[in-house]
Every structure is written in C-alpha cells, then in structure tokens.
Amino acid sequence: MRFRNICAIALIVAFISPAQSDFEPFPPTPEGQIYSNEVAFQALSNYTDIAWAMYADAVRDVVRFNMAVYHFRKDPGPETLQNAKDLWIEARKTYGKTECFRFSETPIDELGLEILINAWPVDESYIDYTRDDPDSGIINQPDRYPKINSVYLPKLNEQGGEANVSTGWHAVEFLLWGQDLNPDGPGNRLWTDFTTAKNADRRMAYLVTATEVLRSHLVTVSEEWNPANYDGGSGEFFIRRPSRIIRSIMTGIASMAGREIASERLAAAIRSGSQEDEHSCFSDTTHNDLVANMEGLESILFGKFTSKSVKVVIDGKGVIDIIASADKELAGRVETQFRSAMMHIEAIPKPFDQVIVAPTDSKGRRTIDKAISSLWEFVYSMSDAEEIMELNTRAR
C-alpha cells in the first residue's frame, strides 16, 4: 500500500532501528517522544485505508451521477433531470466526507485539483444567463468561447477573477438547478433549457463536459490513494518525517473545522446575512455539506469508516489514539468537544439559507452560534495536543 508502505519506510529510516533478524513492523518509540510509535503507525496506515475507501465511494457515486447526466442527455425530460439532481445530491454527500483530507498535504491539494473540483462561490453569469442578463456566460457567447470541451473548460476556471468558476461541483450544481431566485426553496431551472431554449445544445454540452471533468478529476485524486497503484514513483511525496505527517493531518483537521467550517461557511455566512452566501446555494443543500464534512472528520479522528455498500468496514486506530498515547485526558476532551460540535451542526435547521436570514435570537441562529463556538473549542484542544506531542515546532 502506497501510504502505508511509505510510512513504514519513513518510520524505519527516520529512526534507524537496529538491525534485527525478526521483522519489526514499526520502529520502537524513541527516547523522549511523547506519543507512541506503535499507535502512530497503526493510525497512519488506517488513515490511508480510510482515504482510499472514502475516495472510492466518492468516485462510485460521481460515476452514478455521470450516468444520470448521460441518461438526461439521451432522454431529456423533467424526470431524468430530477434523477440527475438527486444523484448529484447523493454524490455530493459522499464527496463531502473526503474534504477531511484537505489542508493536510494530501493529493487533493498537492495535485492542485481542489480548486477545479470544489471552487466556490460561483458567479453564475460567468457560466450561463442570469435573470438580469439573458446573454451572459460562456454558454451564451459562442463567439468568445467557441469550444466547450474537457480541455478548454478547466482552463477557463478562475480566469479573470476568483468567482469566475467554470468547473466543479458548484458549476454543475448551477447548471442543474439554475439561480436560486426562490426565497423558500432551491433554484428551479427548466429541463427545456437543455432542449429548446437558446443555446440549449451548448448548455447540454457544458453540463455533460463539466460532469465528466469532475469525474475524471476525482478519479485522479482517488487513484493517488489506490493501494494497487503503488509503484514507488509519484508516491514519493509521502516520504516525510512521520511527525510531519501527523502534524499535517492534525493541522488539516483543525483547519477544516475552524477556518473552513466555523469561519468561512458558518460565521461569514451569518455575518453577511445574504441568502446566497451559503456553500451549495443553488440546490439549498448546504446542510448536507456541513454534516458530511463532520462525518469525514469523525472518521479520521476515530479511525472508523463504513463504505456506502457496507462492503468495507474499517475500525482501527485514529488520530485520537495517537493523542491518547500522549495524553489520555486531553484525548478525552478532544473527543467530547468534537461530539458536541457535531451534535450542534446536525441540529442546524434546513434549509441553511433560511437560517442565515433569520433573526439573531432565533433558535436556528443560536444553534449556529453554538456550533461555531464548540468547533473552536475543539480546534484549540487540537492545537494543545499538537503542543503536548511536540509537533508544533515548525520546520523552517
């Protein structure tokens, strides 16, 4: 296995364990190291197993979604569009879990694909018409954008501004749902936009291409974790000091919980009070994103994951066990705080955009406030853990 083997190699190389006749699966914990190497080794290899299982799930669902889009192209109608939308929601939920691997020096960021897969917020008028401008967007400007294909579309991403998103989940979401002009529900694009409306053929080509591009990018990320794929070549980017890998993973968890979920998704959204400052604004499924993100974090923290098909059940050591090997009491606190944050996030009422505009003393808003503060408490404890484990010394 790519990451597992490399971790083993890295651990052995790093500590140069004395030559022994017996096979030593992990080097002994060196003098003065606070956390246990045995636990760290097991947790890291479990982490890679979870990553591969989670991304494999995400790929499976995005392929199903892609098939639904093909079905819609072959036989356009309200049912096939609805089917595509339903499968987008499903695939998005599965993908949402994998966001726990962001900010951790893992393939999703190292390959530079996050920005093509998940860029947000989207300027609708960069892609298609809006209520204000019937001629806007790549779709409606064939003179300026003659080609819509899988080579060209990713090149247009973030060209001339960061909201100029041309690919990824949210671009596809906009194509399926259209602008959310409806204060009480999601966007409501007509299926005829893809058949009889102006530039319908280009719109359909865009939808299909963007879906295929999304699928192929996800496959690329997923393959980096594929245990059958280990050739010692590109996997080299995992040859790092084990302490650095652990630190990256812990920093990643903290960044996802604090900067991404608590600040960018929750706090900034209620601060602006704009209904469209939510993550999945066209489909009104932001709530799913939040919950899926937390489920992903839960998996790598506690080392447990069950694939959607229930064929893969992983139950091993997680990041929490590495922390516990250093400080049991602190690990307990981290766990309690995480569970509490997760509970509050699950309690945020749906749809999220209604909560954004609700009065500050409403129940929904208070739940969000609680979610934010409990997430931050969790993040603080994670950084305490980094300190106690002496991981927080920056390699300069």
Binding site: T130, G161, A163, A268, R271, S272
Partner: protein, 452 residues
Amino acid sequence: MIGKSVVWSVLASTLVIALADYRLPGGETTVFDASREAFTQPADNLDPKDFARFFSGDTLFNTNWVSASSVVDGRDGLGPLFNTRSCSSCHFKDGRGEPPSLGRISDGFLVRLSLPGKGLEGGPKPHPIYGNQISVRALPKAKPEARVSIEYEHVNGSYPDGTSYSLLKPIIKIENWGYGEPGNLLESARVASAVCGLGLLDAIADESILALADPEDRDNDGISGRANRVWSPSKQTHSIGKYGWKANKATLLDQAAGAFQGDIGITSPLFPEENHSLQKLDSVLYPSGGNPEIENRDLEDVVFYLKTLAPPSSRFTNQESYQSGKELFEIARCSSCHTPRFQTREDYSIQALAGQLIYPYTDLLLHDMGEGLADNRPDFEANGREWRTPPLWGIGLIPIVNRHSRLLHDGRARNIEEAILWHGGEAVSSKRAFMKLAREQRRELLKFVRSL
C-alpha cells in the same frame, strides 16, 4: 521589585530581537505557503474570533459585482462605467496585475487621468467628464470611456562586462473616446499591486517613516526621500500617504473605497458619487444599487481583510545564501530606499499586527526615479518623477501566484533584473553598482530579491 521588572523588560526586548528573523518578513503574522495561495492567507497569529470578518472581507473581495437591476441584493451597483467587476480580477489571488496583451481589455491595469494644475485639497485635478481614470468597460447601452492599448519600444543597452539587454518602453495609446475629445490631459498607467502585508505597513508609525525622510539630502548620499502629504477623506485631514504607486492614499479605507468607486463603480459612504459626471447616464438608464452601494460594514470587512492578509515567509536555501545576497544588496545600496526592517506600533488596533519586527524592504517614501520612469503627473506632493518605494516581500512568488513577473508601476519590466535596470534619478548609483557587479554576483543579488 523594580530590579525584577527591569530584568523582565530587558529580557523581553532581547527576546523580541532574538525572535527577529529575516525568514519571517511579517514577524509572527508570517504564513508558510509558497503555492498559488501564498498571498491569500490570514495572519498566522490572527485571533480565530476575527476569522469571520476576514472571510467576509475575502468573499467581498472575490465577489463579481452585478448591475443594480439585478436580483442579487447587497452585491449590486456595478458601473455604469467600470474597469472591472471584482477586486480579485485585478488583484488575482491577492496578487499583482499585468499590462494587457495585444487586443485585450485589461484586468489589473488602468490609466489615471487628470488636468494640469491642482484639484481639491491639493490632489490631481479630475477631468470634468472622464474623472480621474479611464473606465474601459461599461454596462450594456453605455459606452466605455475609451480604448486603451499599449505598444512597446525596445531600449537596448549592455552591462560593463558586455552582456546586452533589451528593455520595453511602453507607449500608451488611448483611442475611441466615448464622450468627446478630452483635451489636454495628464495620463499615468498603473498595474494592481499585491495586497498582502498592507496592515503591517499600516502599523508602521508615521514617525518611523518620517525619521527616514531626508528631503534636502542633508547626508549627501544622493538620496532624498520625501513623505507624500495627502488628503484623507476618511480622516478629513491631510496625512502622510503610504499606499499607491505615488503614496497618494493615507489609509487603507481611502484606498479601498477609492478603488470600489473608481474601478468597479461602487459608491460608498466615503465616495457617494460615481467617478464621472455623466449624470444623465446614471439616473435614467441605470438605477443605483442603493445609496451607498457598499455599506460601511462591508467596506470595513474588506479593509480588515486587506490588513490581516499576511506576507509569506522568505525562501532562502540557507543562512549563507541570505548573507551573501544581503551583502550585495547593501553594497549596491539598494537598502537605502528598500529599508529592510521596521517595528510596528505597539498600540496598533489589530493585536496580531502590533509590535512586530517586519521586513518589508521599503521606506514608504517618494524618490525621484529619473526621466525614464517619470509619468509627469503630480499627485499631491509627489512630482512627476517621483515614485514610492514599493515593498519587496513576496516579490519572488508573483510568478507562482499570478503567472507573470511584470514589475514597476505600469508593468513594463518583465523581471526583477529589468526593474532594476529601469531605476534612475536618485537610484542611478545603485543601478550602476548593480551593473558593475560580476555576472555571478548579479545573479546572486537577483536570487536574494526573489527569495525575500
């Protein structure tokens, strides 16, 4: 007891100096990122409670503004005349703009205008129709103010060791005036600067800047250095200019509100009028996106965002490469104006930025840069040959963030070497010193600057 506190304060000050690290241009705010996102990170030591404001500002910075008739409430009011639709289209990834390539309308590049003479409060005198910059875009049914294109002339030269070089001298062409011939104008082209580290510059006390000024060149080093004194609409008084290519803005609020008005056509409490006097264009065809179009709180979030964007760490391979580069930097006396180190104010409003030892490599003063770079358009007390020393932190990451390496006020220099070769006026002796260096040493100096 007294003895103890003295010991502590001595200890504390040694600690500050011990912590001073050339690898941390932003002190404790420095972020460790050398990727495309290098300029987009919040200060490393920022209080997490402030992240909501930071990301709110971030969102506004990236938002594409739409016309006022749009359904998108709160992000409308674009134009009717404008240069671009979002902050991030010019400062892409909080980075730097470049001059437009042939036949394209620019993002990250604009032309300032004024009439000869002084305007209100001593600033440039705006043109009665075109205001103080050319809007190259317009909403449907309106005409852009003009079309701007650039042609280049080659300026050839060679080093004393015989190595030749060729610089590009831009010739700005403005055609197709949309609202009548403008008459006699002063023009000056500008590219958008990177916006990280601005809060740390804001936190440098005026006295620290003035202490470096030497308007009469009393020390006879050939370098004067003047602070610009400009009108600040937010403070309603004259104040030292710190931002902009001619240090013509006193505060980041002035700068940001001015850019919203001039570049995107968004009015704010500070600038309630659009940047042109085509009232008839406004009122009938183009409803306002609310008055003001950006609310104070949003504007303050953007300013907070700008202040807390941190500079990235330097990227020297080792201590030796830093030392040898630094020696050359000092031998050529680059450091006379590109002042390496400052300490920020202890009482700065954002705690994370207060009392930091920083390495911006600028004195924030105006210097005569010679005829070659002169725009001959005075701006408050800056004359037509003077420019503010730009900070150098992060300069080597521009190619990664923005995929170009164009430098100087109009982006004419294609790399750091060309930017140095354009130095004239007060900086001419530094340029000559650079040119006299052996090729290997020149390379080392350039590598040093790239690593800052």
